[in-house]
Symmetry: C2
Subunit: 554 residues, 2 copies
């Protein structure tokens, strides 16, 4: 029988969640169990913080469409730390259900480096994303009801920026008209649905530091503009209290475990393009109170996930990352070396060598933050010794710490070498610094990111973006960090420019204020905020077995 993520998960023996909590130092009164293997953590009932665990951020090179196994390495690294006797927790994002219905492949690691119970986590989990869907759409209903009941705020129906959401891949909802059917059915207007993880509420939930902060951020969210082009916020609608009430349980981090019994906090899952792409601050902070080492990840490559982790999340949370792991794979390096994505399984050591420039740039980026990265070369069965040797030789020549990982097949044991290298970095004194301050001008912040992180030459704004920036400045919203929405496949804004492009100019097409999340989204291209299902959706292979277990989930 072929081993699949689901079959490995189904055969794993889980600890009762109370035991996981107990080992992690979470007292019973802080635990709200959801079934036998999931729990929410009531932060207020945790003992006073006596420690502040070190944070290991796992990021990656510019990925292939299939991904490089970043979550798998994150889980395997945590299990390796546990094998080494460290007090460790892993903090991850919650998977969105929409893509689970579309394309085979989960977001809970893989093989013997998974978090469990994977089928619950990949389906409804503890309901956090459903609560966000509900809060988002309650706000939409209140907006349309406001229009219908007299529109006291004089909201311009053509300038409502708040969209509805569903946790579903549903292209037919991207552009809709609502309020049709006559005067008793609401006010007709154009609208659209995003996938729930693209909701600003998801970003807000992931950056808030307390229930009060959550409510304040929700109140600050922009919903649209009046006929006079004045901004209208959730505060103006009086809806922040209800939204907070709908989110009060979703705001509590979720405790689960890895396949090796390492405590894992899985909480929040904002998009990695129009949002910042990492688990909630509450989760990271809870994990730091409980463990000496917290292994976490950020979406896409280091140019996106790590950059935002540095400038948005960790800045907001008032902490610095203590070590950074960059996941690389032979297949992605080959792609950067010019191999077509359909030929990545064929051996080509020369292509690997040519593709090293992409990894080199990400190493350079992390070094600019004052951190010496460790590279995890995540091994696949198709990799040849010659290909692997290319990477190891490059690392030796460039004085980059590197370890082969084989965590899919071997679990924590396959990440021991990596864990030891990371331990060495954690023991060194730190010299961390960020590349920009939020108070820098928007143009300056953009230039820093494009030149120092992407390795580009310059940045330009479209006329539309210039107009939006002028408005942002007029309303005094410009002293916020930037949230770059760029293709993950290239260091540039052009998906097909692989390797290490140089001399390119990044075009900012739009700048969208997200006042609750507290960042300005800078769009460099068409960003899909509502995915579609493929011709053969994964859902059509799903079923339940006679004993009620999942079939065909992955």
């Amino acid at each position: 029988m072929t081993l699949t993520d689901l079959s490995i998960a189904a055969n794993a023996k889980m600890l009762p969640i109370q035991e996981v909590a107990d080992r992690a130092g979470i007292p019973e009164e802080a635990l709200e169990t959801y079934g036998k293997y999931k729990a929410k953590i009531d932060i207020a009932s945790l003992p006073p913080a006596v420690k502040q665990g070190q944070v290991v951020l796992v990021t990656a090179i510019s990925p292939t469409p299939a991904g490089e196994g970043k979550s798998t390495v994150t889980v395997g690294l945590a299990d390796a730390f546990k094998q080494l006797g460290e007090s460790v927790m892993v903090a991850l994002r919650e998977p969105s259900l929409g893509p689970v219905m579309g394309v085979k492949g989960g977001a809970t690691g893989g093989g013997f480096a998974q978090v469990l119970p994977m089928e619950d986590i990949n389906l409804h989990f503890t309901g956090d994303i459903h609560a966000i869907t509900t809060a988002n759409n309650a706000l939409s209903a209140l907006i349309d009801n406001h229009l219908h009941q007299g529109n006291e705020l004089e909201l311009d129906p053509r300038r409502i920026t708040w969209k509805r959401v569903l946790d579903m891949n549903d292209r037919a909802l991207r552009n809709v008209t609502v309020g049709l059917g006559g005067p008793s059915q609401g006010v007709p207007r154009e609208d659209g649905f995003d996938i729930t993880v693209a909701s600003e509420i998801m970003a807000v939930l992931c950056l808030a530091e307390s229930l009060d902060d959550l409510k304040e951020r929700l109140a600050q969210m922009l919903v649209g503009y009046t006929y006079d082009r004045e901004p209208v916020t959730v505060r103006d609608l009086g809806a922040a209290g209800a939204l907070t009430l709908l989110l009060k349980d979703a705001f509590k981090p979720n405790l689960v475990q890895t396949i090796e019994g390492t405590p894992a906090i899985i909480h929040g899952g904002p998009f990695a393009n129009i949002a910042h792409g990492c688990n909630s601050l509450m989760a990271t902070k809870a994990a730091r109170r409980l463990a000496d080492v917290v292994v976490t990840e950020a979406g896409f490559g280091a140019d996106l996930g790590a950059e935002k982790f540095m400038h948005i999340k960790s800045r907001q949370g008032g902490f610095d990352p203590d070590a950074v792991v960059i996941v690389a794979t032979v297949r992605a390096l080959k792609m950067h070396g010019g191999v077509d994505k359909n030929a990545l399984k064929e051996a080509d050591a020369d292509a690997v060598r040519r593709g090293m420039v992409n990894l080199a740039k990400h190493v350079d980026t992390i070094r600019q933050f004052g951190i010496e990265p460790v590279v995890a070369l995540n091994r696949f069965v198709t990799d040849t010794e010659a290909e692997l040797a290319e990477v190891m030789e490059w690392a030796k020549a460039e004085d980059v710490a590197i370890a082969l990982t084989d965590v899919w097949e071997k679990g924590g044991t396959g990440g021991l070498e990596l864990a030891k290298l990371v331990q060495q970095e954690l023991e060194k004194p730190k010299n961390f610094s960020r590349l920009y301050e939020p108070t820098d001008s928007v143009e300056e912040k953009l230039r820093v990111i494009v030149q120092r992180v992407y390795g580009g030459a310059d940045v330009q704004l479209t006329d539309k973006a210039k107009k939006q920036l002028a408005e942002i400045q007029k309303f005094g919203w410009d002293a916020l960090p930037l949230c770059m929405a760029k293709t993950q496949y290239s260091l540039s804004d052009q998906p097909k420019l692989l390797g290490r492009p140089e001399g390119f100019t990044v075009t900012i097409r739009e700048i969208i204020p997200k006042l609750g999340a507290g960042f300005l989204v800078c769009l460099t291209g068409d960003i899909m905020t509502m995915p579609g299902l493929p011709k053969q959706p994964a859902a059509l292979n799903m079923d339940i077995s006679d004993n009620g277990n999942a079939v065909g989930l992955f």
Copy 2:
């Protein structure tokens, strides 16, 4: 301080759910806790059924818009049984979140006859309704994806009957167009959203008797018709497995407790007009395995809820109700006696006397099923002695068992007299029979309901309904029970005909097959399947307190 449902609930002392389960005879291995005070019951892990508890159905006279306190009496009656030393459980529907955001007032009983934790139950509870929303909309996404990816089944986009849903009062979503924006954004078509409790999946979940039955019913659901007007089902789309997987946890009944510690199963909440309006069969069956007496309710008055309980739910479940309680109030009787709804607080014993005809008809209806009903006269502070006396005298004259209930204020103690009368009925031999067989013709089934339950003269079908019926007969779908969608305010199909109208003809405007639920919905008027928010939505008063508790929920 004024006592409110929320303040009473907040001050109540709850038992840990494990203790509630233990007292109810639910072994620990059958319990999946959701926080400290909620759990799902894994039916497969219950001990073999040794008992089949008696079922007490609580129904009502034709209600006022504010409702007559049916859920409150149901809870109070169960607590009274407990005080009398009976082994008792209460089975109720899950509240929909949409209306909670709109109009102040919950669906978990009230005062000292509530189920707890009320704020959880009224918000996300254990996520069942969110799971139904997700399954419903996953099906919609698969339908639109099928159209977009080549439409192999030749589904006619103009004849798709499956609608999307949200658990929200959102009138702007009643009529929408989807798939706009060009060829890569799907196929444009008209669509609409219902509130989730109106989804056929809710009815299916509430009538299925096993996971296999659930899957089979989901497969049978009609989604639309081909260009050749042939029916297309979920089975044709291949989506039944995925939908079942999405519902596997939602299918498990939820255990909570009343304010007096009586075990309560709250599970499923189908609409009481286009669906059958009572909690799941799984819940009722689980409760019957665990308790000697199960107190349950059905939506609206006896003409709707009780009739459907007899002909749809209990027939499907293979059991007969053992006793029926009809809840009446002085204020509703006054309304039936001709008093304007804004003057119901003014004493008017004559109006009460005139209004007794409505109660008399519901008593007559229940007697036709071979059950001698017990009337619960649910007392309000504005009731005068003279008004109450009118009802008691009528009952004495008509030989109807009646008890005053005061459960909002006194809890189970306020329902003791009622419980004793119900006990007497439970001890009597039964002579239960239903009024029609599913195999009777649709016209015959309609005539029986209109004449014997509503007390009307005749029934007529519009041309549209006749055409639909011909199609239903052509496809062989006519041997199903009927699910009447009629105004709850009148015994007739005209909301303003109060009291006991006679000689009326009911018009069936549409007949809609629900092949998964297994009934034919007969619409007698415009039935609102997506409510709207009022001018001042309850949501605008909601908030959280400093310690994270709900404020302004009720």
